[in-house]
Amino acid sequence: MLCRGRWRRLALPPAPGPGPRRAGSGAAPAAGYEVVVIGGGHAGTEAAAAAARGGARTLLLTHKIGTIGQLSCNPSFGGIGKGHLVREVDALDGLCGRVCDLAGVHYKVLNRCKGPAVWGLRAQVDRGLYRDNMRKEILNTPLLTVHEASVEDLLLTEPEPDHPGKCRVRGVVLGDGSTVHAGSVILTTGTFLRGMIHVGLEKHPAGRLGDQPSIGLAQTLERLGFAVGRLKTGTPPRLAKDTIDFSGLEERTADNPPVPFSFLSKAVWIKPEDQLSCYLTYTNPKAQQIVQDNLHLNNHVRETTKGPRYCPSLEAKVLRFPNREHQVWLEPEGLESNVIYPQGLSMTLPPELQEQVIKSIRGLEKAKMLQPGYGVQYDYLDPRQLTASLESRLVQRLFFAGQINGTTGYEEAAAQGVIAGINACLRVRGKPPFIVSRTEGYIGVLIDDLTTLGTNEPYRMFTSRVEFRMSLRPDNADARLTHRGFEEAGCVSQQRYEQAVKMKAALEDGIAALKSLQFSVSKWSQLIPEVRLSSSRRSPMSAFDVLQYPEANMEILARAIPEPLRKFAKWRELSERLKIEAAYEWCVVNQQEEIEEVRRDEALQLPEDLDYFAIDASLSTEVREKLSSNRPQTIGAVSRIPGITPAAIVNLLRFVKNKHRKAEKLKAFPQTDKYVPGKMYSEKAASQTQISAELSEEEPESTFVKTPV
């Protein structure tokens, strides 16, 4: 969430001059675009840029060009699980990774002591630098136009017959009453749909402090029949750095060398030694007392709306885990900035009480509060109304991405933005959607979880949500997604694609070279005495096997066997990736079979317009209800819905089969589609043994095709 406060607006640099494709706030945008994106946050910028990269003439509509790329809440990117998302967005040539590397002031890889599959790339970024660089990037993206306007309504028309949905969007109505035609529309309005800010007992409508909410759009969506829920979130107060006494606090320094987010960044913009530190302090019983004594003054907390479980407010922590100290991280907002973001201190008490809480904390006794913390409640859309391409089922060509789908966090929003942007573009072109599978990336898990299972609290990414965590690592995101992004989505630049191809080839070479070097264990022990090999290993061992040992690395191996390993070891990035590949090889091999299975199931598409209550299959009402509300798109998604039985899955398989067959039959003989009821009952009554005997033969040519609906 955000907290673009008064101080921030005052410090706002003058808006840059109009870019080549920037329509001024006064001038009406050109009459038609292929893709129109509403909202300029993390989802909106990524969506607009991805659509434009894909070749679509794109319009980005935002309330204020000055707030494009605004970090509304914490001045940081990445984290455990979230760092994976940033890497994957970057692999699809998204913006946030690259922009972070132009703004990071404190890089830290979390989880360093654990395996590289769960390393969490994270950085504190300079709020101003991030916003300016993002704005520059957006304004300089070819085919992308930015226009300052509010959107009040959608233009709708007759649906296309071959897709589900009761209507199709063909444009938007702006605040001034003018219309913009569009092939696809992407809604990324974040917390702005009927946003309501709470501070103490006060509340006023706003999507972000100082910004108007979207009411008209919310009404439009409701009128169209979208199921809408309500969520809440919050942001902490901001403190003046020069009033904080850091002397007694724990200092956390940044990583040296810093690990950049983007595969394109060889280094980060800031010198490693110039990075800023974070400081750690703790709440105490006094702060708890203040919170508990004043719950009656705290509307936001008393509401039953669900807040982010994994980024709770101070009030939530005090209520759920009383009598503990809670961490407060004091994070710098930028190199030049005098603002400190106290992470962990999100609260919605009246401002004077917030000041009391702050002053009760060690190091903050004299701290000046620049802006109070506040809470936001907002409408979100039940994401089960979306397909895996993030297009809505109700309104064709209308896409949703970001916090509006019930997620929390910049990275989750950016990930959805890229996918929505790519698909909005592909949809206009009439191409098949670009869907990242659960087996391919965290993005796939995120979107599949949302669109299949929905959410009733702000959804945050975790590594534990990912089945194939060993294969989906931050280091190999480019190998997983860049090729597909280039070939299928056309959203990846030639330069990035070539780099990914080069890296892939080098990795394959390296692995082949390492595997070809085979020596006995005793020989290895002579060559590299620093690596303690277990003597029980069967001989011979390849260099790739040796590389699995924790002490081994490419440098050591190249010292022992300069030819042919030296050239691999010299390439630092490659040698690190080879080491990780070696460490995970056996897990990945083991997972491959399971991955194949999931992919097979995901290849079995269920018709999007299937009426689960009407189909003639032996499904219980409970199962029908679940299928109907979750609208799984594949058999794989069906199997992940809680409470769906194996029998239901088999029955649905039958429908997939039926559909295929029917399509084939229709193609061959349009009028032979007939229904033979007798056969069904006679065979249904047969025992399984008989059936198995019958089926043991080659499948008989069947004239039996049942009409599903």
Partner: protein
């Protein structure tokens, strides 16, 4: 870290299994003819390992002609033990139900045969039990599924899962359910802690000791699971029957005990030591549980060649498991184990204190076979693992002993039902008074001073098959055999036992 070690070991084992498998992909197997007792059971495999599995189980390098039934002897490849003679069919892919290589084994439907074959299949590398609906899904993936067949199969699978659900519910009730529930919770908790440790880093107060705590919890659980599994096969005992052997020194009343329990003179009894030569087997229905009781020759250094053979047979008989040390005088204990499974509607005798007991027959309410002073006879179930306490508390407390026959039923019931680990102790508690009103004498139960636990001085009756039913003889050496017979006769005729000495 034990956990990491265990995980990586499991992973490697798994990887090895995968690598051993000649072709890609798992091979699955399952009983496809439904569960429970039936005439013929069809066990089906599908996948690249089917060929090897069929070869291993039939013990022949050549396969039968495709899609033709062939009669084969089916053996466990690990032990070469014959499991059954049955029909096998070989369906090479793609002309099979699933489109993969398939094999079908049509074996006799007895639970022991079926589980034996399944166990043998499960031990083959690359084979694993099928999940519900998996055959159908494979058939589907290969484009082999006919619509009506899919529907029929769907119904069948539905019925099966329904049955599984009911069975699961049944198992969830009671002690065993609670035990499994606790294990499941332990694992879930361990997993949750690990995931929290991974997903919340230093800034979320997840302490480093999480790993060692999880490690300890999983280690403890591993041991508990191991102990539980070692005590396995109780369910099999329930289905296949309990084999009990009466063994011990000569002339202590083994054959009389057998006759008493089966209520007919199945074995010849005489006052002469060494009367029983051959193994006499009797099938009994003890309160609903099948029991095969074997009377054996008394263990001694016999001079007569026939008796010597009898003694050697007796020694062979009870000891398939290392724990069953046959013929240790006075080793009046027995154990049994098995996967505890609730016997739906089996006998009213539960083998737990307080539960109503149904005696084997009304006359045999009380048995007090007197043992020869030089040793007692031991009756044990095989395979036996946990031992009853050598000197059960009931004895030391001088409380009344329970009637042997009812106790036998109780013991068998207990043996097949009670979760392991709890086997010995509760059963050593005093039994309910027998319905017939016949009581043992407290004084008679106290072992003679010289008849210590090692020396025996007790003839463990069939009841002692399970730890609950310790039947003790008086610990006087050389007590004449006819005393015992008189005693037994009194039991049968329903007269009260002798007064305490």
């Amino acid at each position: 870290m034990a956990l990491r070690g265990a995980l990586s070991a499991a992973g490697r084992r798994w990887a090895q299994q995968r690598l051993c498998c000649t072709a890609r992909g798992d091979t699955i197997f399952a009983v496809s003819s439904g569960h429970g007792r039936c005439g013929v059971a069809v066990i089906r495999t599908s996948g690249p390992g089917s060929r090897g599995a069929l070869r291993s189980l039939t013990g022949r390098p050549e396969l039968p002609p495709p899609r033709v039934l062939a009669l084969r002897r089916i053996r466990d490849p690990a032990t070469a033990e014959p499991l059954d003679r049955g029909l096998v069919v070989w369906f090479p892919g793609p002309q099979s139900f699933t489109g993969e290589d398939c094999a079908e084994l049509h074996v006799h439907g007895g639970p022991a045969v079926v589980s034996g074959v399944l166990r043998a299949l499960g031990r083959l590398p690359g084979l694993r039990p099928a999940e519900p609906g998996e055959f159908t899904r494979r058939a589907f993936h290969r484009g082999k599924l006919d619509l009506t067949a899919a529907e029929g199969l769907g119904d069948l699978i539905h019925a099966e899962t329904e049955a599984q659900r009911r069975q699961a519910l049944r198992q969830m009730e009671g002690e065993l359910g609670r035990l499994y529930q606790r294990w499941s919770e332990t694992l879930t908790q361990a997993l949750a802690h690990l995931e929290a440790y991974i997903d919340f880093s230093e800034d979320d107060n997840v302490e480093e000791e999480v790993l060692s705590q999880v490690d300890a919890a999983v280690r403890a659980l591993e041991q508990e699971l191991g102990a539980h599994l070692q005590d396995g096969r109780r369910g099999e005992l329930l289905r296949g029957g309990v084999r009990a052997v009466i063994a011990g020194p000569p002339n202590v009343g083994k054959s009389s005990l057998l006759n008493l329990l089966c209520r007919r003179p199945a074995a010849i009894v005489s006052p002469v030591a060494g009367t029983t030569r051959d193994v006499v087997e009797v099938s009994l229905n003890v309160t609903g549980y099948p029991v095969v009781l074997s009377d054996t020759a008394g263990l001694r250094d016999a001079t007569d060649p026939v008796e010597r053979e009898g003694v050697s047979r007796a020694r062979d008989r009870p000891a398939p498991s290392p724990q069953a040390a046959a013929g240790r005088p006075g080793a009046g204990r027995a154990g049994c184990h098995g996967r505890a499974r609730r016997a739906g509607g089996a006998g009213g005798c539960r083998g737990v204190p307080g539960a109503p007991r149904r005696p084997l027959h009304p006359g045999a309410q009380q048995g007090r076979p007197a043992g020869g002073g030089h040793g007692g006879s031991a009756c044990r179930l095989r395979p036996g693992t946990p031992r009853a306490p050598r000197r059960p508390s009931v004895l030391q407390d001088g409380r009344r002993h329970r009637p042997p026959a009812g106790a036998a039923g109780a013991a068998v019931g207990t043996a097949v039902r009670r979760p392991p680990g709890r086997l010995a102790q509760p059963d050593a508690e005093p039994a309910q008074p027998a319905p017939g009103g016949l009581r043992g004498r407290a004084g008679a139960l106290r072992p003679a001073p010289r008849a210590g636990p090692g020396a025996g001085g007790r003839a463990a009756a069939a009841g002692a098959a399970a730890p609950g039913a310790h039947h003790r003889a008086r610990g006087r050496r050389g007590r004449p055999r006819h005393h015992l017979q008189g005693f037994l006769r009194r039991q049968v005729t329903g007269r009260r036992g002798a007064a305490p000495p």
